[in-house]
Amino acid sequence: MICAAQERRSPARREEVGVQSRNVRDGSESTPKREFQHAGSETAAPRSVLARERARIARAMLADCRFCAHDCRVNRLAGENGLCHAGAEARFFSAQIEVSDELELIPTFAAALSGCDLRCDFCITGASSWNPRAGTGFDPHAMAAKARVALQGSARTIMVLGGEPTIHLPVALEFVSLLPETARLIWKTNAHGSAQAHELLDGMFDVWLADFKFGNDACAQRLAKTPDYLRGVKDNLLWADDHSELIVRHLLMPGHVECCWQPVAEWLAANLPGVKVNLRSGFWPAWQAARHAELRRTVSGPESARAVDLAQRLGLNLIS
């Protein structure tokens, strides 16, 4: 079956992406989830089985951590910390059913892992996202039990987020291994993961809900202390679009319509035509946003209108 995401790709894009991810375990070409769930296929393996195997691999990879684009290569099993400061164990700061995400995903049971590899000064969960030791120890079995209860109730989906869940791949994958095969799983990410992370995540989540936060490297460096941001996020989005359903989010920031939203919108229109885009205008000056004069306020009505107008002129597929 050719999925919509594949149909959207242009020949130029295929060359640009060049994605031929390999199965982490045996080196064979990996297959999108839609295919390895096909019943009767000899190569089919339940998601839970793959996730369990990959969780073990991910755990071992903590000895030379390359989960995100920072590529720190520290030994987290030995107590070394990279830029995210995360150790070997994961903690979480929120786990509940929520309805503030995209309409097609809600209600979702959202489990938020502590710690992140970015340092966004305006992070609305900065205290927990900047501190991987915040919150409570993440027990995949206990969390999966909660998720199953949520699915039996009102939840339509399960969302794994942070902070940034990519830095906690071992427990995130173990969590996936304990969920029903039919559960619709959402990977909410800052799109700053590495190729190694992609191999582990291939086929694990039905939807990638990915942020495209900054439209240029200077803003990313100044507001999130993240160098070489654009290259990484574009690679992530192209990969995610090839391997999963993708929804791109952009949080509109006050004073950043032209420098951030405009190039983001133009790139999406040119490289991911038709992809679902959620333009969020509910910025509030949280955490350390006041360090930056332009971030001490919310988004104005004219800014929001300008941003929506640009999206419409570019033909973006806006969703809410």
Partner: protein, 84 residues
């Protein structure tokens, strides 16, 4: 701008749920981590707000505990703030 952190006991499990909201001077309310129960509450305060009604309609039927006068000014919009 006033930031409020609200906690409400989940009726089914007894565990706390957390939503955060920011009330702007013009009466707009920004919400983060909106729970079904809180969406229901906001919907009852301002039934005409389509941002909230589209989300509260998807919740499990959790009866909102509305015992106070509406916080939202008439005609004020509420907008949802994302996870970051």
């Amino acid at each position: 701008m006033k930031k409020r952190r609200t906690k409400k006991n989940c009726e089914s499990s007894g565990e706390s749920q957390v939503s955060e909201l920011l009330i702007l001077p013009d009466g707009q309310i920004l919400v983060h981590n909106l729970t079904p129960a809180f969406a229901g509450l906001l919907h009852e305060l301002n039934p005409d707000d389509e941002h909230i009604s589209s989300r509260s309609s998807r919740r499990n039927e959790v009866k909102a505990d509305v015992t106070r006068p509406p916080l939202l000014r008439s005609g004020a919009a509420s907008h949802l703030s994302p996870h970051l």
